[in-house]
């Protein structure tokens, strides 16, 4: 039987696929929020005993990644009145296939990496897959807001990888990282808001005035 942590990780990958496969921004944001929640639960599932450090990390993650940021992004799409990602650079089917490829690649790569004593064998492949799928979303979607979602996925993947290193990265730094990500998405959201006001659209492809 599989462990809780493994189950959570599989669900994380499923939320990745959900973001890749859907055109509705709202669904994308919900999926990323669900991913944030799963990410918050993971430290609890991985830890042999729940310390203040682990509990704080879980609480902070859930607060930032599952509540505040999704709420903020949902606010942004309400303000901008966008619902769908139309005409992504790479179609949804192709990006799903790319996602599956990324998944296979993630497992293939992590099979070759020298395994330091990782408690959870799916952790590293799931992290790499999330990073890659975040990059796919970031590069193949046109709406600025979807790109922010992609960035968030990328960060989530890195966070997952960071869970292998909880002993070596102290709490203070985790807080710093979390705050940085929060600030990043927040500022991006504000810029998205300005883009919408200035161009009446969230299409980052419209941002093409500057070139050589």
């Amino acid at each position: 039987m599989q462990t809780t942590a493994e189950l959570l990780l599989l669900l994380v990958v499923l939320t990745d696929l959900a973001v890749l496969g859907t055109s509705r921004l709202r669904t994308c944001i919900r999926a990323v929020a669900a991913q944030g929640l799963l990410l918050g639960l993971l430290p609890l599932a991985l830890a042999s005993q729940v310390t203040v450090h682990v509990a704080g990390l879980a609480a902070g993650t859930v607060l930032v990644k599952a509540v505040v940021l999704p709420w903020f992004l949902l606010w942004a799409i309400r303000e901008a009145a966008v619902r769908r990602e139309v005409e992504p650079v790479v179609g949804f089917i192709a990006s799903l296939l790319l996602g599956a490829l990324a998944l296979a690649l993630a497992f293939a790569i992590s099979g070759r990496l020298p395994a330091s004593d990782v408690r959870e064998p799916v952790l590293i492949p799931a992290a790499l897959a999330t990073v890659m799928m975040g990059l796919i979303v970031l590069t193949t979607r046109r709406k600025a807001l979807t790109q922010v979602v992609g960035y968030l996925m990328l960060e989530n993947g890195i966070y997952l990888f960071g869970l292998t290193q909880t002993e070596s990265v102290p709490f203070l730094l985790e807080v710093g990282v979390l705050l940085d990500i929060f600030a990043g998405v927040f500022i991006m959201g504000i810029v998205v808001f300005h883009i919408n006001r200035e161009f009446d659209s969230l299409d980052s492809a419209r941002l093409s005035e500057l070139k050589d």
Binding site: P114, L138, Q147, I158, L173, G184, V191, E198, E209, L210
Partner: protein, 479 residues
């Protein structure tokens, strides 16, 4: 103790100027900016006299390379803050508290980066610079600056995210190795025990990540847009200080890989990024029509030279460290001059600027002198550092690299000279009269120009000693 003060001073200043009421720039707010910059500079100068310090369990420390970057940042920031006094009096929009707080936040973040001995802490600082600078780039609140800030945010956030992954890889490599995790000293001391596979992955990700912040080709695409649209003094801070901090990150991981004996793996990667950056700069400098964008590509070029020097090892490392200082100073100089041009004529495009030597006598001359300085002509400091890097290439038997670098540098010189000479010389548009230039706006670039000239002629003893220590720590040697 002093290190903490250095980090906390700008944080506190940023908080105070940000939280205080009255959104317009008031006299006291700019005063606080200059004051903070001056105190910061004084504290930094004091570090040179004190023995090496440590704080926060060794997370902060002033090793040679960190001190160099810190000093460079502090000098540049002071020059820029003086310039800000003149700039905010003339610029439209005049800028609110966000502008001043953003600058101070930037100073805080770069100080943390320069003093970090803990690599994750360095990451946090570098990421923070991104957000401190974003409102500064968006200063004009128009479409073009919006586009610039979006490109900058997305690219550097992704880059820095990959760097974080690299740091986690590094932590994986350190698994089971004695010493505190991710502390630079412990990493280099036990470098040979690190797991090579993870270390290689960490190097690649950190180079790509921090390289994005440096603006190495092909991750440089945000640079011309950002530097072109941001106020010139922000360009000065970014091209001079921010890129140097990012290079510090690259240098730190290279320090670890060199200590681990992975030079054979690291070297070709650094060469590739370096030469590609030089080639990209050469390709885009030719036919460039905007001074600030030209400077952006020049920055790409110099970033390429820096990693090239780092990759060449030996004397090249010393050349890279010296070049770091020279490039930072000359970028500050030129961007501030470009700012004067924009303030006087409203544009940095060559089309709108002719005969600057006559209309802006001091800035015009400084621009022409800057052209020679930035392209590495004697007697300026950059000649010395570029020459050292080339010498390392020849000494190391990398003749092909030496030759192609020389050719690319020549192309870049021609490309830059065409644009700058067009702007500086020639007949001013009819009816344009010489402008009396404000001392606030000239003090900064003049001082920086003096420093670049000084470094070309004579490097003071303590500076030379620190440069040498930095180069040796990076695995290089002194010529």
């Amino acid at each position: 103790m002093w290190l903490l003060a250095l980090c906390l001073l700008p944080v506190a200043a940023a908080a105070v100027t940000g939280a205080a009421p009255s959104p317009r720039v008031t006299r006291w707010r700019v005063g606080a900016l200059v004051g903070t910059a001056a105190v910061h500079l004084a504290l930094t100068a004091m570090l040179w006299r004190l023995p090496p310090q440590q704080a926060l369990n060794g997370w902060l420390g002033d090793d040679a390379l960190g001190t160099i970057v810190l000093t460079l940042t502090s000098v540049l920031f002071f020059a820029t803050s003086v310039y800000t006094v003149g700039y905010l009096a003339r610029a439209t929009p005049r800028g609110g508290r966000v502008f001043v707080s953003g600058m101070l936040g930037f100073l805080a973040a770069t100080t943390v980066v320069a003093l970090s001995q803990h690599l994750a802490m360095l990451w946090v600082g570098l990421e923070a610079t991104t957000f401190a600078v974003a409102p500064l780039i968006f200063h004009r609140h128009d479409r073009r600056s919006l586009e610039a800030v979006w490109k900058y945010l997305v690219l550097s956030s992704v880059g820095i995210a990959l760097a974080l992954l690299g740091i986690f890889f590094l932590a994986s490599a350190q698994h089971g190795v004695p010493g505190d995790p991710l502390i630079l000293g412990d990493l280099t001391a036990h470098a040979r025990e690190l797991q090579p596979a993870w270390l290689r992955a960490a190097f690649v990700f950190l180079l790509v990540g921090f390289g994005t912040k440096m603006g190495l080709a092909p991750m440089h695409t945000w640079k011309p847009d950002t530097y072109g649209e941001a106020p010139a003094l922000v360009g000065a801070l970014m091209a001079g200080a921010l890129t140097s901090c990012a290079f510090l990150g690259v240098a730190r991981i290279t320090q670890v890989t060199t200590a681990a004996g992975l030079t054979a793996f690291v070297q070709p990667v650094l060469f590739a990024f370096g030469l590609l950056s030089l080639a990209t700069a050469a390709a885009f400098v030719i036919g460039q029509g905007d001074l600030k964008r030209l400077l952006a590509y020049s920055s790409v070029e110099h970033m390429g030279l820096l990693v090239l020097g780092l990759g060449l090892c030996g004397v090249g490392t010393y050349g890279a460290v010296l070049h770091l200082v020279n490039n930072g100073l000359v970028k500050g100089w030129l961007f501030l001059v470009a700012g004067n041009v924009v303030l006087a004529t409203g544009t940095s495009a060559a089309a709108g600027n002719r005969g600057l030597v006559r209309t802006l006598p001091v800035s015009g001359v400084l621009l022409v002198a800057g052209l020679f300085a930035v392209t590495g002509s004697p007697p300026f400091g950059l000649f010395l550092s570029e020459f050292t890097i080339l010498r390392a290439a020849v000494d190391g038997g990398h003749l092909a690299i030496a030759v192609s670098t020389l050719v690319l540098l020549a192309i870049i010189f021609v490309g830059m000279a065409v644009l700058v000479m067009n702007m500086a010389l020639g007949e001013p548009a009819p009816g344009v009269r010489p402008v009396r230039e404000s001392a606030w706006l000239l003090a900064g670039p003049l001082a920086l120009a003096g420093l670049v000239l000084l470094l070309g002629v004579y490097i003071p003893g303590p500076v030379q000693a620190t440069l040498a220590r930095a180069a040796v720590a990076l695995g290089g040697r002194v010529p």
